[in-house]
Symmetry: C2
Subunit: 131 residues, 2 copies
C-alpha cells in the first residue's frame, strides 16, 4: 500500500490518506479482506504521527471502507470496492469544480484554461497510443 503525502497540499494529511486509500480500493490495489498497514507502520512510512493515521483510519471506518480487527489491524470491508468506485469520480470532481470555477472567475479564457489543463495532464498521464 503506497501512500504519498504532499506536505504543501491544501488538504490536511489525514484527508490525503483517506482519499488515497479510497483510490487504492477503487483501482484494485487494495481488495476486500486485504490488511492495510498498521497505524504505527504507516505513520513511520509517511513520517507523521500515529494519531494522524489513526484519524484517517477512523474516518475510513465510518465511511464503511475499513473495518477493525482488534489486536490484528484493519482490513478492507467487503462492500468497499463498490463504495470507492462510486465515490472516486465525485471526490475528483469536487476539487476540479472549485479550481475551475476560480480559473473562470480569474477571467482566463477557456482556451487558456484548457491549455494549462493539457500541459499538466501531459505531465501526469501518459498519452495513449492510438493503434
Amino acid at each position: 500500500m503506497l501512500i504519498v503525502i504532499e506536505t504543501n497540499s491544501e488538504l490536511p494529511i489525514y484527508e490525503q490518506i483517506v482519499r488515497q486509500v479510497k483510490f487504492a480500493v477503487a483501482t484494485g490495489s487494495l481488495r476486500p479482506g486485504d490488511r492495510v498497514d498498521s497505524v504505527r507502520d504507516l505513520a513511520k512510512k509517511i513520517v507523521v504521527n500515529p494519531n494522524t493515521v489513526a484519524r484517517a483510519y477512523r474516518d475510513l471506518q465510518e465511511d464503511g471502507v475499513l473495518e477493525t480487527v482488534r489486536g490484528q489491524g484493519l482490513k478492507v470491508c467487503s462492500r468497499a470496492l463498490r463504495r470507492c468506485l462510486a465515490e472516486r469520480k465525485s471526490l475528483i470532481r469536487e476539487r476540479l469544480q472549485e479550481v475551475l470555477r476560480e480559473a473562470a472567475q480569474s477571467n482566463l479564457s477557456r482556451e487558456e484554461i484548457e491549455a494549462i489543463v493539457e500541459e499538466e495532464l501531459n505531465r501526469y498521464v501518459p498519452v495513449e497510443e492510438v493503434p
Copy 2:
C-alpha cells in the same frame, strides 16, 4: 470591487481575498490608483471580521499590489497591473497542478478527467461562438 467568499473552499478566507484582488487588477476591474474598499466596508460586505480583511490587505501590500494612504484607505499600486498579469496564470496553474496530479493518481483515465473538466468548464465559461 466584487469579492465573493466560498465558505467551504480549501483556501483560507484571507487568501481568497488576496487572489480575487489580484485577478481584479489583472483584468482591469481595478486600476492603478483606484481605491479599494476599506477594511471595515469589505468585512461588512463579505461578512467576515475586519482583521481577516486586514490580513489580506497586508499581504497584498507586501506583494506590491496595494499601498496604504493612512487615514484614507488603500489604493492599487502603479506597478500592480504588471505584477498581477504575470501572476494570475501561475496562481491558477498551481492549483490545477495539484488537483490534476491527484486525479491522475486516482487512476481515472485521461478521457475521464478531460470529460469532467469540459463539463465543469461548460458550467462556468460560456462557449465562444465561432463566426
